[in-house]
């Protein structure tokens, strides 16, 4: 500031210097905001992972994909028994049959998805042309519609079956969500993040209240699962549902439990939430479909 004053009083052409200064200051501000924006997702992810690894030091980071069973020994044993005859097996079979059955135009899902459907690791992603998040389930329906078939309902049923089959084919692929250098993509990520941490509904809970700061605690007899790895194992067979459900079905269920109005599955905000939450688990394995209580 002092320097500025001296220059201004000493300088021969004050307005020229002023102009240069404004340019410098503007450039600095732009650079800083660019850095703070782009430092976002990466450092968010590191802090998120560290939050859970320090909260549950006995759990190896790669094990968080097993949800509550990664932090609860007694229920893990039961779950491992269940996994010997997994309740989602029927869904995989039905999904496989659907995968192989040609559409009316004689094309199949294989014309939309490469690698025998083992593409779980490519979703969700930011589509720069469409300026929106594309999820696996959205892509499945777009494949159907492009081939003249009716779109499927997103929460359960056939959609969950095909998603289960493709997830099964993709087991072991790494979660590697990319948020590109694009203000629209960043804004989508930020909206998902804000949704995650905001309290909502009459009961006033955020997602993080239960699955972050509350994770590991008991609600009645149920232990709250940690958020790290949360999207890795969907779709899931849930005993409470008595059947399969997609990730967005679970989002809706959580929202209703806190007495908030649920959003539609595959609505923009749920896809952005999926983008954020999956990004938080970058580096872990996809291991769907799963079985949960």
């Amino acid at each position: 500031m002092i320097f500025l004053k001296i220059r201004l009083t000493e300088g021969p052409n004050e307005s020229e210097i002023m102009k240069k200064l404004i340019v410098v200051i503007t450039a600095t501000i732009t650079a800083f905001s660019w850095i703070s924006l782009h430092a976002g997702p990466d450092s968010d992810q590191a802090a998120f992972e560290k939050y859970f690894t320090s909260k549950f030091p006995d759990t190896p980071v790669s094990d968080f994909i097993n949800g509550v069973y990664s932090i609860d020994k007694p229920s893990r044993e039961q779950w491992e028994e269940i996994e010997e005859f997994p309740p989602y097996e029927l869904a995989i079979d039905s999904g496989k049959a659907a995968w192989n059955k040609p559409f009316a135009n004689s094309k199949t899902y294989a014309d939309c998805f490469e690698n025998e459907g083992a593409v779980r690791g490519n979703y969700p992603y930011w589509d720069a042309d469409r300026k929106e998040v594309v999820t696996l389930e959205l892509a499945i329906n777009e494949c159907r519609v492009a081939n003249g078939e009716e779109p499927l309902k997103y929460n359960k049923g056939k959609m969950a079956d095909i998603s289960a089959y493709m997830s099964y084919q993709s087991r072991g692929q790494k979660i590697n969500v990319v948020i590109p250098d694009d203000p629209d993509a960043m804004a989508a990520y930020e909206r998902g993040k804000e949704f995650y941490y905001s309290k909502r509904g009459q009961l006033n809970f955020s997602c993080f209240d239960c699955h972050g700061s509350g994770s590991g605690n008991l609600v009645r007899a149920d232990k709250l699962s940690p958020a790290l790895g949360h999207t890795s194992h969907f779709p899931v067979y849930r005993s409470k549902w008595g059947g399969m459900g997609t990730l967005h079905r679970r989002f809706g269920g959580c929202n209703k439990q806190v007495r908030a109005a649920a959003f539609k599955p595959q609505s923009q905000i749920y896809r952005e939430l999926e983008l954020f939450l999956t990004y938080m688990s970058n580096g872990l394995d996809f291991n769907g479909p799963g079985a949960r209580k």
């Binding site: 802090a47 949704f195 941490y197 509904g201 209240d209």
Partner: protein, 114 residues
């Protein structure tokens, strides 16, 4: 024969009284409903408007729509007081949801792990 006529006469008398009674009751009902329902319609619309505002912000509560539905049903079956109470409850829920959004817009950041 006579007996039958008598019965019919009595029956028609009863029917007339009942009809008159019902008519006057219905009249009162219609009048009071018209007055109340005018207040109800505008209160209901205002509450629904507020619910839409909360929804637009992404903070609508689970039961607000249900309350408004119940209010409409109560109003239609003539339970005006109950209907107005439900509308007020729904309106308050949306006010609370909008206040919640405002609170959260500057509160959520502090929960992000650093």
């Amino acid at each position: 024969m006579f007996k039958k006529v008598k019965t019919t006469a009595v029956a028609s008398l009863v029917a007339t009284i009942m009809t008159l009674g019902l008519m006057s009751y219905a009249n009162v009902g219609i009048v009071s409903n018209a007055i109340a329902s005018d207040g109800f319609e505008s209160s209901w619309a205002a509450a629904d408007e507020q619910r839409k505002m909360a929804a637009k912000l992404g903070f609508e509560w689970r039961d607000t729509k249900k309350l408004l539905k119940k209010a409409k049903a109560a109003n239609e079956s003539g339970e005006n007081e109950k209907a107005m109470k439900l509308v007020a409850k729904a309106h308050e829920q949306s006010n609370d949801a909008i206040a919640q959004q405002e609170r959260e817009s500057s509160a959520w950041q502090s929960r992000v792990p650093k």
